[in-house]
Amino acid sequence: MNSQVRSSASVAVGIENVEKRYGDFTALMQINLQINDNEFFTLLGPSGCGKTSLLRIIAGFEPTSAGLLFLYGEEIENLPPDKRPINTVFQNYALFPHMSVADNIAFGLKMLGWSSSDIEARVEQMVSLVRLQEFIHRRPAQLSGGQQQRVALARAMAPKPKVLLLDEPLSALDLKLRQQMRAELKQLQRDTGITFVFVTHDQEEALSMSDRIAVMSDGRIQQVGSPMQIYEQPANRFVADFIGDTNLLDAEIVEVAGGGASVRLGTGDVIKSDTPENVQIGDRGFVSLRPESMRLRAAADVGTDAGAVALQGVIEDIVYLGTDRQYTISLASNLRISVREQNVASGSADGLHIGNDVCLQLAERAARFLVN
């Protein structure tokens, strides 16, 4: 199967059992990834998990310690960076300080031996793509951070690479600009059809831009999937915890039935839960409950509707967050859980005050059982 996947034209970057060691330290282990053609693929993970190392291996700046590397089915492990049709947007941009914006963008084209009329046309095209027409004669030092970022992008895309690598390109920008650039990057990727491999430690950035995400920690890939899969069906405790906020409660499987299961929590309550495949009665693990996947009702309001109630507790704290309110509920057996309710209209929080008894209703598939 592998050899077919490798040579398939739909796989832009194939990574097989790649390892990276720096001396005694293993920075990457057993990395297996297939990044598809025309995909916005994100490597997401906390600082030091090996994202940059993996990107540098793909670009050719670092040799692998073991494993195979393919570009559209062709093995590229032995090609130096200047022979790989891959370009990089560096984290610090690395714009050439002694060249104008136009010369920076033209650099790769000159090295590829394009004719000067072709270069001129392409530079013009790139400059208007990233809207820097007025700045082409400036030096990088005379540009703002956001403008430098766009030059770096234009420079890397000008030679029409097959794959574009981006190492935390937005991290140096302020929040407003970062949000605007997210949309622009995504649009650029769609328009050009270039495969993007994007590195970030910001889960919101990853969720909002990516077609697929690989979540990494400690030099390993924890899960690969669409933003929705990663968020709603985390493969393990690390992913559930790292992506978004969640409540992780100890749980044990008490019943398995057609795709789902019932689990008993530390409070003694039994709730329905999604599970990974192949779980058995008696398995112990965690249940992940997203704060926004539960509804809070004042105990007094629930009355006869008790069937839908999963958990009961007392409001311990309320934090007002603008669009939301975050409630901390203390459950039986000294467990705590946090719940988010949208502030829909005035009065929506009626009867939800500190010290009040409340019932928690779980949305469909709100709970996710995780073995580790």
Binding site: F61, T88, F107
Partner: protein, 275 residues
């Protein structure tokens, strides 16, 4: 900031006195030489009014032919030694700073910078002994070779400092954009390093231009540089035209060193080049 103030050296007793004494000893002779180079009398101690006659004498007097040929030798030797040692220093700096960790790296660094610490007279004697041993004819050529060698560390230090301040991502970006290693060096690293290289060259140039001890040992008969020519002239008694010549050399040196310093400090514009 606060603790820095507590340790401010200016608060030590006697600081001002020592400073003034040092400056006085250092600069008074220079100022005297400069002032008396404009003296309209043959005496080097009594003031006889302002005149430029000694400057005219430097260029037109009986000794002017000797001084001119010595100056020409000094300039061409300094140029040759400065350029060659700078090229070697650039290669050495790239090897040391960009070569990663290699066996013998600290030994290499020690060897590179040792000539600055070895007493010059020792180098001079050793060079003379070595040149005689291998039968290298003393003369213009031997001066150039010796100058190249002792100028390398002076050229190396500012170049290596500059290179250390240049992130390797510039070269990586160039290679990422399809430049070969040579093209990455030629089109990216070299221009960014240029201020450091120019600064290193000017330093090597002036060190060569000003050198007396080593040159005097190995110059052989009949070849003079400006410092050895001045020394020779002074042995027959100090005349005011020597003061004029010394003043000219001093101003030239100051100009070159200042240029070297300014270029090394604020040239380029990589933004992080300061080190």
């Amino acid at each position: 900031m606060q603790s820095a103030k507590a340790f401010d050296v200016k608060h030590y007793p006697g600081f001002l006195g020592v400073t003034v004494l040092c400056l006085f000893i250092l600069y008074t002779p220079l100022i005297v030489v400069m002032v008396y180079s404009f003296n309209d009398s043959l005496s080097i101690t009594r003031w006889g009014g302002f005149s430029l006659r000694w400057y005219v004498e430097v260029f037109n007097g009986v000794e002017s032919a000797k001084f001119k040929s010595a100056a020409w030798n000094s300039l061409t030797i300094a140029l040759a030694a400065g350029i060659t040692s700078t090229m070697i220093a650039v290669a050495a700096a790239i090897g040391m700073v960009r070569g990663g960790q290699f066996a013998g790296k600290s030994v290499s660094f020690a060897l590179l910078s040792m000539p600055i610490m070895v007493p010059e007279i020792v180098t001079a004697v050793a060079t003379l002994v070595f040149f005689s041993a291998i039968g290298f004819t003393l003369g213009y050529g031997s001066i150039v070779v010796a100058h190249i060698v002792f100028c390398i560390p002076f050229a190396y230090l500012p170049i290596a400092a500059r290179l250390q301040g240049i992130e390797s991502s510039f070269e990586e970006a160039a290679q990422d954009l399809y430049a070969s290693r040579w093209q990455a060096f030629r089109h990216v690293l070299l221009p960014i390093m240029a201020p450091g290289i120019l600064s290193g060259f000017l330093l090597a140039f002036i060190i060569s231009l000003d050198d007396f001890i080593i040159t005097n040992f190995i110059k052989g008969a009949g070849v003079e540089t400006l410092p050895t020519a001045i020394f020779g002239a002074v042995r027959q008694g100090i005349k005011p035209n020597i003061m004029a010549l010394s003043t000219l050399m001093l101003l030239f040196s100051i100009a070159i060193v200042t240029a070297s310093y300014l270029i090394g400090r604020k040239g380029g514009g990589s933004g992080r080049g300061e080190e």
